[in-house]
Amino acid sequence: MVIDYQAGNLTSVVRSLRALGAEATVVEEPEGVLSARRIIFPGVGAAGEAMATLKRRGLDRALREAFSRGIPLFGICLGAQIILDHSEENDTPCLGLLSGRTRALPPSPGLKIPHMGWNRVNFRGGHPVFADLPLNAEYYFVHSYYPEPAKAEAVLGVTEHGVSFPSAIGWRNLVATQFHPEKSGRFGLRILANFLAWDGHHAE
């Protein structure tokens, strides 16, 4: 259910799922991905190394297959970036589940990068995974790159840090957040709980 590709922070994802009463297992093999009822795809670190690990284990193809079968998928942080076609981070070709590119946060004087800490998300589109969240709730971010889907309707939430960037995205049975719901207190846990209850369909 939670994919291990040696890109960090999966113990905290597993702990938060267990705190919600969910059964969570860590999978490292393609077979595990395809037999999961739903998949969380976390990650911190560099896009290049993450993609190399996914390919070596055959997880890239398994994820594409899981996506096309309609299994609900949730990418977190780096997991929200490498689902796109390409990342500016070391010019890395990515999974291409959703068309778009991962870009670097543009530096500007006085702006701290990485963007580290709590920030708001302006959710749009009424997606069930991002339901029942107060407007002024904040979520924990730590990143220097952000996902930019090609389709405007795939952007489900935006955040300000120097620029306005997509911080929640989704398409079909896929959702992803640039922030860490597993580290975002009660409202982050609510997002994970919403995902656990989601059937993978979202009528616009």
């Binding site: 113990t11 702990r15 938060s16 670190g45 580290m116 107060p134 002024n136 730590v142 009660r186």
Partner: protein, 259 residues
């Protein structure tokens, strides 16, 4: 807009929390897991644990604390104190901490920052700096010197240089503690904090000297800090995190107000 973070710091000795005044006369005041849970519910944005255990089985005691904390709170927390090797880092991160902080070990072996950042990512590596005010000299042009061993040993390193070097080596954040201000409850060292915060592009957590909410307001504006560490002012019930945040909000400082 990114909120300024308010971060309770818990000193832990033999699995119990303490609060040191000028690093001396520590007294035990509680269970770190229960306190972390309370501060999580009270609106802490992050929690810092600093292990000051001296005994040889310190690691096992602290790792057990980290494991228990990780089951209770769903915000980031970091662990510092006695982390010297990649294995020490790995153990703490696997037990559930989001970040590890290196201080003395990084001064004695700066490559630990680079190795840690490579193995676990920069976002995991906090460079802790203990800094003392000195007369400016050719060796310490900024007038702020790095000290180690809880403030007892001056290292002949300029704090400004060391902050930049730490960033270059891959630290993701700096926790900047003023030995002069620590334990006084008379306010953070604003000049030092601003100097370091303007010199690096990574976030800076101000530490040492917090006694009143005004002190946080000063260090988060004039001091240009991204986050403020607090201890005594909440450990003894003088203020709640909510009271501090409401005060900061009234001053126009962005803070996380609901949790």
């Amino acid at each position: 807009m990114l909120s300024k973070r308010i971060i309770p710091c818990l000193d832990v000795r033999d699995g119990l929390t303490t609060k040191g005044i000028k690093f001396r006369n520590n007294i035990d005041i509680g269970d770190p897991v229960a306190m972390a849970r309370q501060y999580y519910e009270d609106g802490a944005d992050e929690i810092v644990f600093y292990d000051i255990t001296a005994s040889s089985d310190r690691r096992n005691i602290m790792i057990e604390v980290v494991r228990r904390v990780a089951r209770e709170i769903f915000i980031p927390f970091s662990v510092g104190g006695g982390i010297r090797t990649l294995d020490d880092m790995r153990e703490v991160l696997l037990a559930g901490a989001e970040k590890v902080s290196v201080n003395t070990a990084a001064v004695l072996n700066p490559q630990i920052i680079r190795e840690g950042a490579r193995a676990f990512g920069s976002q995991c590596i906090v460079l802790g700096m203990d800094v003392k005010r000195v007369t400016p000299s050719p060796k310490i042009p900024s007038g702020y010197e790095i000290v180690i061993h809880g403030g007892r040993t001056p290292m002949g390193l300029d704090a400004l240089w060391w902050a930049r070097e730490g960033e270059r080596l891959g630290a993701g954040e700096i926790c900047l503690n003023s030995i002069d201000a620590d334990g006084t409850q008379e306010g953070y060292e604003l000049t030092l904090t601003r100097l370091i915060s303007e010199a690096v592009s990574i976030p800076v957590i101000a530490s040492g000297g917090a006694g009143r909410p005004e002190h946080l307001a000063e260090v988060l504006t004039a001091g240009k800090a991204d986050a403020a560490l607090i201890a005594s002012m909440i450990h003894y019930g003088t203020y709640t995190i909510q009271e501090i945040k409401e005060y900061l909000n009234h001053q126009g400082i962005p803070v996380r107000l609901i949790w």
